[in-house]
């Protein structure tokens, strides 16, 4: 009897009902790549909190005695052409990339999910108008648009987040709309309508939670892509202005000294790559976990 009880216990343990996020986390745990990505991300977030202890003056302090020193025990990433400690600058710069990545994605996510859900749920004329506007906005070359906004309102972190966030709203509109369209036909939506739920309630308690998977995946890789695009803009001089050590700007600042001091461009670029890689790996893992079509 006892062995049978244990067996039952094991079975109930194995098939214990998990919450939705518990389920997602469980499938991520099995995916090595996703775990590595998650670990790198945790390290980056810790770095971000550690960087709050670095004062702006320590990070911008120049030292005539230590100009363009190669990486050593004293200066982990070496120093730049003004003798500034590159390690401190790269660590300090994490906040810009994190702010841009999360900020832009938050803007485009909030706007895109709201508008996309309305568009997909109501259909008809509303849908048509929204999608034509989205067509127009997504035809604007995003980079040029960001450059113009940065010149018009001044180069700052906030303007960059705004410009890049707005230009990627259509992407989220399309994804949300598509996933709402697939969920909308289900019986449980019809049931909610029959009970008399308001459209708003149906959208936000029934439709979106069930059509969440593609949105989560897009968000994860989207943060990485935004960080990369922002670094690119800073690289050509349209980003967060110096002396703020935004990573793209740091890479750019080392260009002239590429031959004699390659580490000035090297380490910030490596930092960008690691962050984007972490988001891509996590996104891949989430895709495996959430997309039943690709489940192995």
């Amino acid at each position: 009897m006892s062995s049978r009880n244990r067996k039952e216990q094991l079975i109930t343990k194995k098939y214990r009902k998990r919450s939705r996020f518990g389920e997602i986390f469980h499938s991520i745990k099995k995916n090595k790549g996703a775990m590595v990505g998650l670990v790198i991300l945790c390290i980056i977030v810790l770095t971000f909190f550690a960087s709050l202890f670095i004062s702006f003056s320590a990070m911008t302090a120049t030292s005539a005695a230590n100009i363009s020193r190669p990486p050593s025990r004293e200066f982990l990433f070496g120093t730049d052409n003004l003798g500034r400690n590159l390690f401190l600058r790269v660590v300090y710069g994490a906040r810009y990339s994190i702010a841009i990545g999360f900020g832009c994605t938050l803007i485009s996510l909030a706007g895109g999910v709201l508008i996309g859900a309305i568009s997909g749920f109501y259909g008809g004329l509303v849908d048509n108008i929204i999608m034509r506007i989205a067509d127009v906005v997504s035809s604007v070359p995003g980079m040029l648009f960001t450059m113009v906004i940065m010149t018009a309102f001044g180069q700052s972190l906030g303007n960059m987040v705004f410009a890049m966030g707005v230009t990627s709203i259509p992407l989220y509109i399309r994804i949300t709309r598509a996933s709402v369209l697939t969920v909308r036909g289900n019986e449980f939506v019809e049931a909610s309508k029959a009970i008399g739920f308001s459209s708003f309630r149906i959208i936000y308690t029934e439709v979106i939670p069930n059509g969440m998977a593609p949105i989560i995946i897009t968000v994860t890789t989207g943060i990485g892509m935004t960080i990369m695009a922002a670094a690119g803009l800073s690289f050509i001089g349209f980003g967060v202005p110096p002396p703020s050590p935004e990573w793209g700007g740091l890479v750019s600042s080392g260009r002239a000294l590429l031959r004699t001091a390659p580490w000035i461009s090297g380490f910030p670029g490596l930092a960008i790559m690691l962050v984007v890689l972490a988001f891509n790996m996590l996104g891949d893992g989430l895709r495996d976990a959430l997309d039943p079509k690709l489940k192995r």
């Binding site: 067509d135 070359p141 980079m143 040029l144 450059m147 690289f235 050509i236 390659p262 890689l277």
Partner: protein, 318 residues
């Protein structure tokens, strides 16, 4: 299909109107104008006013926008405020360079990416597959401009094999192609791998093998033939993306394309040039997307039928 193409081209009109209004207003908000940027010394107040008149800067925004659009409708993009050169001529002289770089990185990306994707899909789950997957992940995460600097350091500064910049000859094309094609290559590999995997498990492949079709033909004709569309989508999206976002690569390699033209125009507060670049790049962007969409229709008859002119609505039975 012609109907569809016409519809898409007509959609270009509201797009251009919206884009031109937005960019015009934003540029008007930008602090500083072309006269400040020219940095003429000893400018008296009268001369300053005269220059303002000359550039129409004394008129309200809406009048200037009207003038601009009036000229645009006659096919006149105006002359650069900064250099005085004709915007249309300058743009069309630079555009082939951008297109060349975009197409060559596209070719690089597909020639390497598609076979690599097939290779990985055939060995799904093995070490080789995991290695390819990891390489493509890294490839998608490497910032192009950083890769460019690394290659430059090695091939131009240390070994002096390739020029570090410029737009002359085949040798100057190699590094920009690799750098902007690298992300594309990674994306194509991933897409090829996943859509091949979908096909490799399909029943018709088993049938094909069972009836004795050689393995090479099974992969190339049967599987790839059906895996083609998503791969094309990735490549097509990348083409319009690299036209719109060419500025960074062009800046690193001092490649004389339209991206760097636009960047210089924005930096110099060159109103006419920026407007011209925006309008032209948007147009190219839309037209290339349209061309790619029409190519799908050629590749897949199912899509072709979806583009067909909608018939007069039949009354539904219900």
């Amino acid at each position: 299909m012609v109907y569809y193409a016409i519809k898409r081209v007509l959609l270009l009109i509201p797009i251009l109107i919206a884009v031109s209004i937005i960019v015009f207003l934003l540029l008007d908000l930008a602090p500083g104008n072309i006269i400040d940027m020219m940095q003429i010394e000893n400018l008296t107040q009268d001369e300053y006013q005269e220059l303002l008149r000359q550039y129409n800067l004394d008129k309200p925004v809406i009048v200037r926008y009207g003038l601009y659009m009036f000229n645009l409708l006659q096919g006149d993009l105006g002359k650069s405020d900064y250099t005085g050169l004709d915007v249309w001529q300058l743009y069309t002289s630079r555009f082939p360079n951008t297109l060349l770089l975009a197409v060559s990185s596209l070719i690089f990306g597909s020639v390497v990416g598609i076979p690599l994707g097939i290779f990985a899909a055939k060995r799904a789950g093995t070490l080789a597959d995991n290695a390819v997957t990891f390489i493509t992940l890294v490839g998608m995460s490497i910032p192009g401009f950083w890769l460019a600097l690394l290659l430059m350091l090695q091939f131009s500064l240390k070994w002096q094999w390739l020029p570090a910049g410029g737009t002359e000859g085949f040798r100057s094309l190699i590094m920009p192609t690799i750098c902007s094609g690298f992300v594309l290559m990674a994306g194509t590999t991933r897409q090829t791998r996943s859509s091949m995997l979908e096909q490799l498990n399909a029943d018709y492949l088993r049938t094909a093998r069972a009836k004795g079709v050689p393995e090479k033909a099974v992969i190339r004709k049967h599987a790839l033939g059906n895996a083609w569309i998503p791969i094309l989508t990735t490549i097509g999206g990348a083409l319009s993306f690299s036209i719109g976002g060419s500025a960074i690569m062009e800046a690193v390699f001092t490649w004389r394309g339209v991206g760097s033209l636009a960047v210089d125009a924005v930096i110099n507060r060159d109103f006419t040039m920026t407007m011209g670049c925006t309008i032209m790049t948007t147009t190219m962007f839309v037209l290339i997307q349209l061309m790619v969409d029409l190519l799908y229709a050629l590749a897949d008859p199912r899509i072709k039928s979806a583009y067909a002119r909608p018939k007069i609505k039949r009354r539904s039975a219900a």
